[in-house]
Symmetry: C2
Subunit: 370 residues, 2 copies
């Protein structure tokens, strides 16, 4: 018996070869995500650390035993086998190292907060543009299929109507150890503190809800909490759009874990309470009410809100890596870098800047630059 | 066989005989609630309306066929058989009629918003004090057993910790007809508009969450929505306490039905999404997270939030009437009027006043008078 000729498949694109610049804790989550992807998508080719030992220990833990050790960040950047760099260094180091990554023609997956201000981010984005490399920040939840499903619902002009109000609260209760020693409370490392850390998600979730339309004005809440070094531990703001939409957010290192976003539309309401890190990896929920009315005489609701469950084979961080590798492979094949992700990053940073400026000016209203 | 002697029971207190002053729609919900109570708790003895016909029609609909008809409010007040008055008139009529009720020595169950400002409310409360009659406003959810259960949890210094942030949104999408003709959009009837209507619940729910500690300062959100007559259709505010607690609320006649309150503590989080009118009459839910942490490496939550379900034999409005009749019967038996309810009403009105003043002054920060 002769078997039929196998159909001709285009060769699978070669896996994207990552270099990891710095052995941050969060890098363990990223390497775990890479291992979950189909073989041939992404691999860690090298790890750069200020210490050989630290890099070696990191490599032994992350499941990429073939990764090369670089005893300096500079040496990793010179590695011709590294095609893309995942950069989880403290924010204050982003500009020099991110621009160096781009200057070497390597694609850039950058931890958030991406920069201390928009001017710094623009330096990074310009460097990526100039080299034609892909830029993406590491916001994971935006890649969860739940987010796409929620987008569908919020965009439905009939079932949801126009967005009027958004509330977001992102917080976790930091340990004493964190509040003493974490880079996120150090003015020379992550000077944006809680605003750059979970506040980033508040701002992005609000922008997400309005399809990335920038607000006109932001006003920080009064009495932000700072540590002795002046780094923000808890703060908030109200955002105003020209058409009357309003958003409110609070972010905190001093309150129980919360990743809440609620979107109120003229016809619908969306609740999600675990936006940033879903309760469980394999499925994520949200709830939607649409055209809610009362059972007469106002003794109940009809219809009731509906729970939606979105399952996923791959966790959101693996989907993030998958999206980034897809874009890198596209550039490798002659395509242009995808502009959508850096544009979203920049809008988040622009609003974050305005909130920070309003905080620094004692809750003065600040116009949002575009 | 001789049966044992029946134990001597104290005679059941005589039912409280209500007069209803005005045939508002909401009065139908109240009369329905009275019918649900055990016989002998509450009865509608009389209805007063500016029109005999209207009163007669109302009586035929509410299940108290023996109720007397009064063709004027004044005439109802002169009825010696009426012991307590339920007063659902438009807010602008509250002071003259509520003080008249008290002056006749009748107990007062007053629709919210209770008054256009605290000075007005004080006139009403003084009149009740002077006559030694019981005052209560008609906020129903505060009497739901769910509210007591939530109080227990929020007060738990270990499981919940200290309250840091509260968000509240109360809204419904008003019909075109409502926006044209309802008393709640008329400057001469309910001049507080949405702030007095569902905004009342936002403010009260926030005060409830902090065990009725008044905020120090309120700042109204910018750009409140008003109708052509200047009545508020959508607005909001941020509230600040001396110890750093913050609350944010939005109320609206222009967004989908929502009765959300979320309380964020140092150790716990409480979500309720149907505070004012529970989804169903016989049971009500809320969700609590306590000491939430991450599954390492931040890929899920442990422990997960827990859903609590509180069942009730009587709906919250019947429990409200039951509480009011219990207090009236206590005064009848020689006790003093309960001061807790008027105190809560007054605090709500005080904060509402400050929000209104901040709105009127273009979102200036307003100190909250005590």
């Amino acid at each position: 018996m002769s078997s039929p000729a196998a159909p001709v498949q285009p060769p699978a694109p070669r896996a994207v070869r990552f270099g990891v610049l710095g052995c941050a804790d969060i890098a363990r989550k990223i390497s775990r995500a890479m291992l979950m992807l189909p073989p041939g998508a992404a691999t860690i080719a090298a790890v750069g650390s200020r210490s050989d030992d630290k890099a070696r220990r990191f490599i032994s833990e992350i499941g990429f035993p073939a990764a090369r050790v670089h005893g300096s960040y500079e040496s990793l950047l010179e590695d011709p086998d590294v095609e893309a760099v995942y950069l989880p260094l403290p924010t204050s180091l982003h500009v020099p190292w991110a621009t160096a990554v781009a200057a070497r023609g390597k694609h850039l997956l950058l931890e958030k907060p991406t920069a201390l201000c928009t001017a710094e981010l623009d330096a990074i984005l310009s460097a990526c543009d100039a080299s034609g490399v892909q830029f993406m920040d590491t916001t994971m939840w935006i890649h969860n299929p739940r987010t796409a499903k929620m987008r569908e619902i919020v965009s439905d002009k009939d079932a949801f109507g126009d967005v009027r109000v958004i509330n977001s609260m992102c917080s976790f209760r930091a340990s004493e150890e964190f509040l003493k020693n974490d880079i996120r409370v150090k003015p020379d490392l992550d000077a944006l503190g809680v605003l750059g850390d979970v506040g980033w998600y508040c701002i992005l979730s609000i922008l997400w809800a309005v399809d990335y339309e920038l607000p006109e004005t932001v006003i920080a809440h009064r009495h932000p909490v700072k540590n002795q070094a002046g780094v923000l531990l808890a703060c908030g703001a109200t955002l105003y759009w020209a058409d009357g939409k309003t958003a409110n957010f609070n972010c905190s290192f001093l309150a129980n874990l919360a990743f809440d976003v609620t979107v109120y539309g003229t016809n619908g309401t969306l609740h999600v309470t675990d936006l940033v890190i879903p309760y469980e990896e394999s499925s994520a929920e949200f709830s939607v009410a649409s055209k809610s009315s009362f059972v007469k005489p106002t003794i109940g609701w009809d219809p009731l809100p509906e729970k939606h469950v979105v399952t996923t084979d791959l966790p959101q961080e693996a989907l993030m890596i998958q999206e980034f590798t897809r874009l890198v492979q596209n550039v490798r094949a002659g395509g242009r870098p995808e502009g959508k992700w850096p544009a979203i990053t920049r809008k988040t940073q622009v609003v974050l800047d305005a909130v920070k400026a309003s905080i620094d000016k004692g809750s003065e209203p600040l116009e949002v630059a575009s």
